[in-house]
């Protein structure tokens, strides 16, 4: 099902949680709503599920205007961070419950629930209570319960936050597998960029209720729309140093020429941001940085430098040997280097 969001605004008293949000989500895709806490992503999800109604704007499911349609009539499946399983019911009863409400005959109910349990791999524990399951298993049951009524849209609200690191990776792959097998349009809310990068078809990155960028994960990383997007994505985080544009050259705070060229913004204060993998070792370069620390990580090593008073990191071949305190020449690759307006974060390069 295709989802169209048109100029959604949600205000709570004086506080604007979502501000003029527009997006089109294509049918069958897994789209992640990503952003730091308080960015309005859960509010957005609640408006999609019908728990909240927008102050302004329209929500369309295919061609139906569902802006003020109540939750139960939207045909959505919802999975919560705390699973929200009914503790007094068995796994089977939990999965059957949405069908019971729809008054599906009992035999069919159980058959469909069992099929769904197979899909999420909980078919061996149908008679257990949620309390007897691990977190990952509970989450699988919650997904089965959300999918059993064949929703048009599956909403997942930070479904992995309560799991430990290993289970989280396993479960996100599982969610992706289940989503691809069922082909259900899915919206996934998270604050974890790695999670978002690894499973999404598209990512919507939000900040303070405003959509920052809506793109494929790799584009988001390679071509951030603004400084916030660049800062938010990537591990280790992007390097960021203050700079000034003079005669088309990006000059660092300590007067060194970064070697980056930018036309048309002379005299402006900017951020020079670059990915760690975009740093090059250039012994002959005029741009010098002082080595602070080197840590070897197998075939690569990550080295932190003092560059114009800021700590920055770069990946290098582990055959290179740097002394602590040594001044080395560095340069940048063509990709993964950005210049942003210092105040607004608008991207110049």
């Amino acid at each position: 099902m295709k989802i169209r969001l048109e100029n959604i605004v949600k205000r709570f008293r004086d506080n604007t949680a979502v501000d003029h949000f527009s997006a089109v989500i294509e049918s069958g895709e897994l789209v992640t709503l990503l952003g730091p806490s308080g960015c309005g992503k859960s509010t957005m999800l609640n408006m999609l599920s019908g728990i909240l109604y927008p102050t302004e704007g329209k929500i369309y499911f295919d061609d139906d205007d569902v802006t003020f349609v109540s939750s139960e009539k939207r045909g959505i499946g919802l999975v919560f961070q705390n699973y929200a399983l009914y503790p007094h019911m068995t796994v089977l009863e939990n999965i059957c419950f949405p069908l019971e409400i729809q008054k599906v005959p009992k035999a069919e109910r159980i058959e469909r629930a069992k099929k769904m349990a197979e899909l999420v791999h909980v078919d061996t524990m149908l008679n257990r209570k949620p309390g007897q399951l691990s977190g990952g298993q509970q989450q699988r049951v919650a997904i089965a319960r959300a999918l059993v009524k064949q929703p048009r849209l599956l909403l997942l609200d930070e479904p992995l936050s309560n799991l430990d690191a290993r289970l989280r990776i396993e479960m996100r792959e599982e969610i992706r597998r289940i989503q691809l097998e069922t082909g259900v349009t899915t919206i996934f809310v998270t604050h974890d960029q790695e999670e978002a990068m690894s499973i999404s078809d598209h990512i919507i990155l939000m900040k303070l209720g405003v959509l920052q960028q809506f793109d494929k994960p790799q584009y988001l990383y390679d071509q951030p729309a603004n400084c916030f997007v660049a800062d938010f994505l990537g591990n280790p985080p992007i390097n960021k140093v203050e700079a000034k544009v003079e005669n088309g050259k990006v000059i660092l705070a300590d007067g060194q020429d970064s070697g980056v060229r930018l036309e048309g913004h002379d005299g402006e204060k900017v951020w020079l941001s670059f990915r760690s993998e975009s740093v090059l070792y250039k012994p002959e370069s005029e741009l010098r940085a002082k080595v602070i620390l080197t840590s070897v990580m197998g075939k690569e090593k990550i080295t932190s430098f003092d560059l114009a008073g800021k700590e920055v990191r770069g990946y290098f071949d582990s055959s290179l040997d740097f002394e602590r305190g040594e001044e080395v020449g560095i340069g940048f690759k063509k990709t993964g280097v950005f210049v942003f307006n210092f105040e607004s974060g608008e991207r110049y390069l």
Partner: protein, 288 residues
Amino acid sequence: MASKSRDTETQINKEPISIGRIIMYIVLLLGAVVMIFPFYWMITGAFKTWTEVNLMPPTLFPENPFNIENFVYAFKTAPFAKYFLNSVLALLGCIVTCSFTTILAAFAFSRLRFPGREFIFSLLLSLMMVPYEMIIITNYRTIVTWKLHNTIWALILPFMSSIFYTYILKGFFDSVPDSLYQAAKVDGCSDWKYLWRVMVPMAKSSLATIILLNSIATWNSFLWPMIATNSKDVRTLPFGLYAFMTEGGQRNERMMAAATIVVLPMIIVFLFARKYIISGMSRGGIKG
């Protein structure tokens, strides 16, 4: 915590005579005896003959433990069977209606949104401060006006709802995460169905506590039945017992038998359900 208690255990094994522990057990034992002895005295006394009860020094055990003469007498002279039936009727009436209203009210105050919810609830809570004896007067006037005086309804009507039990149950309902409600709502579940299919089964132990406390209170209630009823046909056990004592003369063994009839059902209920009472009480964080 667990390792600490294990440490003390091993310590006890090393030196079996710990004076502090012995003193503690003696004190606890004394407390238990003080608590239990009146009940023991009552029950054994019910099986004794008149001479046996008045023996000096008193005996701890009846000569003929199968002597049910006193019970027979109690049932013969006073309509204890009728009293018993009345008590059971009043009890069932109170529990069924009160549990029902309590569940609905607790759900409304906990989950539904309506204007003035918090204000109304605090108003109700403040009513708990009005002394019972004062409410009795107004209740009596109501009952008389409605011409229900001296009927079983008079014993049920004033207790068909309870702020205190609503408060306990609301506490439990509040602790159920919102997401359960939202999950059910998204699936198209009505409030009514959600309440009975999800909330009530989850609140089983809180409800058991409420029903038990309510049973004990109703079973033992004395003042209200005494005021609201005056014929033997609608008397309940506690007031029946009181009447029996004043009408039956100073025959201790017979009074013991009558008292045993009154108390025994609740003792049995308590023995079976005490774990619910205690867990429910500690959960609510409220003293009875």
